[in-house]
Assembly symmetry: C2
Homo-oligomer: 413 residues x 2
């Protein structure tokens, strides 16, 4: 229980009542009202409003399905037109019969994930991870300041907020370094922001950093669940696979970039100056994240602390000629800041489990079965207000009992 | 031009006429005849036969679209039923009007790729790579004999055979280790076999090794194009990203596993014995690959030399509870064998460019613009025959001139 720097756990309970989506935000989601069919809606206050009936043809068709995919693919002119029409239609209140309390509907994954890439773009996070795992070497890999390091994750296991996350089985290094098979013993969250590509780009046409908002429709909050022990054993030389691919949770509400006009801030100071395809750096986003475990806040990461910007991540992804597809999702990497209270994962918050947080009378080193992790965020709005952006939340469920293998030592099968 | 072991380049010209698909193979593909619409067909001899008209309802509907996706999703009972019906319908010749010379049609990507995972399952390949890049350490990472190492690739850049592959731009380490931006200078192929998942599996239900053919429909030949210099600079700590994601080529023809009954062989001897979820090991496949550059054979890898089996790769992928989706694709990793003539990539064949092959009067260290790489394969058939399985082929085109950045040093942007 020693610890530098001191943890902040257990001091801040989460909100007592569900926060309210401000009028100008209008995040998009997919919902199923009780007894009804799935449909697209926008969140307003504590309600979701069915969207297609608010629009005229042909734009109504973009929201008449069961995902945001048609709207995403329609591109930035359509995004602006639809948003303006929805803002106008809702300016004087919600037409009768279209609103449902969010607490009473079932929320779904709002879009079809094409490829999912996860970056590693917080210098504070990468430095902490380096210090933990390579205490005698430089904390950052030699490439880190030259490009946004990232990897492809599993698109098929991106799940919507609220979906239970089962503790994965896997192989980890045992006490004498021989592998041990069994349920993950070091389950972690990673607080991230995910960016949703709407308009694709053809092969051979890299996207410039200046064109972020011509391709990215909006953002979600993202929990990059991580089985640290499984990841650690498998990761050399090709990176994480099963330590990440069991689940990635995203918020049900996709916040359009167009709603965040007051949130843009200058990017981090980048030295050395970024190479041409990462220049200009684009802008940072002043999002305030909050991570709670079982309702107790354990961290308040600031997205403005990120080193690489979303524009640079997007430009880098396509710099080799790779096309973008509607539904491509890229995560920022764990959002961590300079102070202990801004660290975005337990690996950092507990310094690899050696400095547990106090949480409701217990020590929190790693996630236990039944723990609920909630990552929420706000952004600056007009006139000094803060805009509630929603949350991604999920509860850890026990490892499946019917795995085809029992906990055992490697080589004894 | 010193070299251990001696190269085999330039000694074997490729086939003078297109090989012929044997009657019992019936690989599936998607083709567009001249002036016609895309449709599903099976290859027979040097022709493609439109498939749906050969079937009765309801199975005809599985092949009536423009991809194999409905057939893949229909599962193993449907696969067997459809294959039996096609074999019967074609036993006495091709009904009139349904056959087109393959040379005259346009072939497409036969299925929608969901998630793409690439393994690293040849011990010979992994050992050679380790010796090249870590000459003073053990060639295999400590985990290698305990699990099939792999990573997620980019599903959106899987392209069909024949699609030109543009040399990617990217960052590489310069002479003094500062980064240099520009076209890839070390472009490579990797000869692999890809396995196509048909029937998915739900989250939380790992697939046993014994159930490979309940989920995997068939295989393709796969070229995991690799920009060695870009990959090398980016890969620590999260694995390859842009060094691989510019293109992955697959053959147009998907060979059903059901057509390979004579090709199964015992798996490699695995010590230590694999952990429970990788046991029993399943079977190996005796596929003979051939890699040609500009028509000259440079390698003849044997798939029977692989260490981890496709069944173990599939079981491992799902061992953490990850679901499978129709269209999931997993690559074997570079197929390399114990001899120099069986190495599946130029990295090994030229020992990282230090021992060039002789090819048509030039030195082949890495791929040059205009080079055509062809990976073909055969498998044992009945009565000692060899079954032609098709090929994946593509030509390297020059790096795009309109990249948003010119070759330059890092930090000078």
């Amino acid at each position: 229980m020693t610890g530098i720097p001191p943890p902040v756990a257990g001091v801040s309970p989460g909100p007592a009542s569900p926060p309210s989506f401000p009028p100008g935000l209008l995040p998009y989601g997919v919902f199923r009202p009780p007894g009804g069919r799935p449909r697209v809606g926008v969140a307003l206050g504590r309600e979701v409003v069915e969207a297609a009936p608010l629009l005229a043809a042909p734009d109504a068709a973009l929201l008449a399905g069961v995902t945001l995919d048609p709207l995403l693919a329609a591109g930035p002119a359509a995004w602006a037109r639809v948003r303006a029409a929805l803002l106008a239609a809702l300016a004087d209140g919600v037409p009768g019969g279209l609103a449902h309390p969010i607490a009473e509907v079932q929320l779904g994954l709002a879009f079809t994930v094409a490829d999912y890439v996860d970056f590693y773009s917080s210098e504070h996070h990468a430095t902490n991870v380096g210090r933990i795992f390579r205490p005698d070497g430089p904390p950052l890999s030699p490439n880190w300041k030259h490009l946004p390091v990232g990897y492809h994750g599993r698109a098929g296991t991106v799940v919507v907020s609220g979906t239970p996350v089962a503790r994965p089985h896997g192989l980890r290094a045992g006490p004498d370094h021989s592998p041990v098979s069994g349920p993950c013993a070091r389950l972690d969250f990673e607080a991230e922001v995910g960016f949703v590509v709407g308009a694709g780009s053809p092969a051979g046409s890299p996207v410039r950093t200046a064109d972020l908002d011509r391709h990215v429709f909006g953002l979600v909050l993202l929990n990059d669940w991580s089985a640290r022990d499984i990841q650690s054993f498998e990761t050399v030389p090709l990176g994480p696979l099963l330590g990440k691919s069991f689940a990635t949770s995203v918020s049900a509400w996709v916040v359009p970039l167009a709603a965040l006009e007051h949130a843009w801030v200058p990017p981090a100071d980048q030295q050395p100056a970024p190479i041409a395809h990462l220049s200009p750096a684009g802008r940072g986003l002043d999002l305030s994240l909050e991570v709670a475990v079982n309702g107790s806040v354990v961290s308040r990461p600031c997205f403005a602390d990120m080193y690489w910007t979303p524009a640079q991540q997007l430009a880098h992804l396509t710099s080799n000629g790779s096309p973008l597809r509607t539904g491509d999702l890229f995560g920022s990497g764990t959002v961590s800041g300079p102070g202990a209270e801004r660290r975005g994962c337990l690996l950092e918050l507990t310094w690899n489990g050696t400095e547990p947080l106090r949480l409701d009378g217990r020590e929190l080193r790693w996630l236990e079965d039944g723990d609920t992790v909630t990552i929420s965020a706000t952004a600056p709005g007009p006139d000094g207000t803060r805009l509630w952006l929603g949350a991604v939340e999920a509860t850890v469920t026990p490892a499946a009992a019917d795995q085809p293998y029992a906990a055992q030592r490697g080589g004894s099968a």
